[in-house]
Amino acid sequence: MILSDLFQETYSALFVNKARSGLTILGIVIGIGSVIAMVSVGQGATGSIQSSIEALGSNLVMVTPGFQRTTGFQASAGRGSAQTLVLEDAEAIQNELSLVKNVAPITSGRYQITAKGANTNTQVSGVTAVYSDVRNLQVDLGSFISEQNVGNLSKVAVLGPTTRDDLFGENSNPIGQTIRIKGIEFKIIGITEAKGGTGFGSQDDMIYIPLSTAQRYLTGSKSVSTINVQAINQGSMTILQEQITSLLLSRHNIIDSTLADFSIMNQADIISSASSITNTLTILLGSIAGISLIVGGIGIMNMMLTTVTERTREIGLRKAIGAKKKDISAQFLTEAIMLTFIGGIIGVVLGWLISLAISHFGGITTKISLFSVLLAVGVSGFIGIVFGYYPARRAAKLNPIEALRYE
């Protein structure tokens, strides 16, 4: 029996029972469709979290101050208020380490901002000119803080779009106007482009001023709150992290690395820990959908068993005219696989439509990967084999004499 005969037999067998075949296929369609849709939601979440982390900049190593741990006495100050990192640390990193591309130290705090009667409470970051490169920040209107601004202790400010909207109204152009931070007047020189960051602190609700100005007029100290270090490439991040650690330890005269008065976060670490959360989410959603796939598979088995019983005489006849066991089992197995395969293809299309609908109406990012499609089609074929095997074997094992006599 050649393959094209097998397909013709299968086609006519399935076509004869249109309603039953259709309903059985529907079970697989729902199973595969929900797997595709659910996994696309999970992978979409992974993708959007990763892109918002990547929006922080690329190849970033972030050094933040921490309290110095001393034996017997625990400093109770919170991490944010610790003042162990200073501008000279940033300069040392820039000058002494070769894997460094840019260093952007910042000092930040929340202040009440007023402008023409409107007021808001937001994050004010003292930055240097390279900050926009390091953090991937684009300027929409005007210009960013320049080296000159930092050198001159200029009282200028660049606003994030959300802050601008809060203080001056949506999509207005406030360049040249002034705002007051802690009572000190700053002239607005630029507006940054919206990044739409979510979760990890919006970079849109932010005010940037020169670092030197912030240290002099706002914090009144030499300390910085974060040193953003950009590595020359992704591969050097881990080594760079180690180099910064040993450099800062020696600068701070700390011998035991467990007593370090700073901590270093690697962007890759943040991404991987976020990914592990969203992967768990994907697996959870996928396995819930997988249950419906198994139910669909049982539907296939049920239909095939009914079919085998119904067609007992036909099986007997086929055996009488010379069909071997393998011919019979191939025929029924092909029917089962064909059902799941058709269901799998329709299910992929349905799942794709559902995920489009979810992202269109639900506003959730979804992402269909080739992998999940291949997986779904593979799984549906596999289910056909698994759930079709038993009925097919039962058909093949029928005794031709008894099968012919079957009423």
Partner: protein, 237 residues
């Protein structure tokens, strides 16, 4: 071409052993038209299953074209059925929702005949069995009983088997259509020298053959040769 030597068949069940055949021996030559006759429970169905390679005897030798088939595996038996035997059943056993042609083609699929040749062979077999050409592409469940049995005969003929085995072929037909079917067998035997074994419980049907082997309680009780063939009287039709 067929030789049975002391064939026995014992069925074992929970109720005990049933001795369906108790040492049956006979030989059938090429081109013979033999009826195996016996009442129900005589063992004729069991004998038919063994002759048709659907079952193996418990003991004894069954030579088909000088080859002992008593000890063959299921798959080898399937090969014998495929290449050497054509079956005609009482209840026709056609695929109901397939066309006449498709039904006749079915054995050719299993014996690996190339697609292009199948339809030609099927049409030849259908003409041989006397079915009118206008029915070739009808669905088989739209035919009358007599027409269905002709399709079944064509299906048995299509592989050009050395033996046609007909199990109560007239059992589901009225007398008149039954006559026509039996006449078809007579014609195939007389004109094409085909070997035919006809299983029946009716003397009247058996008398269409040239030889009648009578079986009762698992043993052969009679073997009449050179039967004066009953000729169908068409005058009343």
């Amino acid at each position: 071409m067929i030789e049975c030597k002391n064939i026995t068949k014992i069925y074992k069940s929970e109720a005990g052993e049933t001795n369906a055949l108790k040492g049956v021996s006979f030989a059938i030559e090429d081109g013979e038209f033999v009826a195996i006759m016996g009442p129900s429970g005589s063992g004729k169905s069991t004998l038919m299953h063994i002759l048709g390679a659907l079952d193996s005897p418990t003991d004894g030798e069954y030579l088909f074209d000088r080859r002992d088939v008593a000890e063959l595996s299921d798959d080898d038996l399937a090969d014998i059925r495929k290449n050497k035997i054509g079956f005609v059943f009482q209840s026709f056993n056609l695929l109901p929702r397939a066309t006449v042609i498709r039904n006749v083609i079915l054995p050719l699929i299993y014996s690996g005949v190339p697609k292009e040749e199948r339809e030609k062979q099927a049409r030849a077999a259908l003409q041989n069995s006397g079915l009118d050409e206008s029915h070739f592409y009808h669905l088989s469940n739209q035919l009358s009983g007599g027409q269905m049995q002709r399709v079944a005969i064509a299906r048995a003929l299509v592989n050009n088997p050395s033996l046609i085995l007909a199990d109560e072929p007239t059992g589901n037909l009225d007398t008149e259509t039954g006559e026509i079917v039996l006449e078809t067998f007579q014609k195939l035997n007389a004109e094409q020298k085909r070997t035919i074994i006809l299983i029946t419980h009716e003397r009247y049907v058996a008398e269409h053959a040239n030889r009648i082997i009578t079986i009762r309680d698992g043993v052969i009780v009679g073997d009449e040769k050179n039967i004066k063939k009953r000729v169908v009287n068409y005058n009343h039709l």
